[in-house]
């Protein structure tokens, strides 16, 4: 059984993936760490970033946080606002 999730992409991660969002299947119940590993495997350039975080429903998430269907997921490369 798998869990189809959509991931929003910004900044350099959007350019690495070549799209502002991507959809992927994660074994259920999936966790943030699995999502990151999956993405870094498919897009090795993500390993070259200074940091790469995941936000779940607008909050920074730890690697062991579960991902549920309908969660809003985003990749957060190093921020540089201001």
């Amino acid at each position: 059984m798998s869990n189809r999730i959509s991931v929003q992409l910004f900044g350099i991660t959007r350019e690495i993936v070549g799209s502002s969002a991507l959809t992927l299947d994660l074994p259920q119940p999936g966790q943030v760490g699995e999502l990151l590993n999956n993405l870094k495997e498919h897009y090795p350039a993500l390993n070259g970033l200074r940091s790469l975080l995941v936000a779940v429903n607008g909050e920074y998430a730890e690697a062991d946080q579960p991902i549920h269907p309908n969660d809003e997921i985003a990749l957060i490369p190093p921020v540089s606002g201001g």
Partner: protein, 136 residues
Amino acid sequence: MVSITTDPIDMNAAYRYVSTDSAGAITFFFGTVRDSTNERAVERLEYEAYDRMALTKMQEIAAEACRRWDVRKYTIIHRKGNLAIGDIAVLIAVATPHRADAFDACRYLIDTLKQQVPIWKKEIFEDGQVWVDAHP
């Protein structure tokens, strides 16, 4: 009040918003587009935001500043899109009864915004582009 906008930032509106009779001190911090980075000439900047989360984070850090200091009014306005040299990318305004709080809170807000708020900028040079701070 926090906002993200594609329009030029209006400092007069920000001043009107934060000014209040109980304030004796108001600080403004403007982050502006500098013409060079490490002596390399910058042509322009592009800012991108994860709006929903950026607004939430801006509100969180503002709430923390209000807990730490006697902030009577504040505003954080961040611009996104294409910015030219000299444009204002961010304006943080803080009104407090006494000046030490106005300086401390304003500095905390910009320092923490730069660490936590999901906004990204790309520097466009004559011969290339770089997402700022993306790589080690």
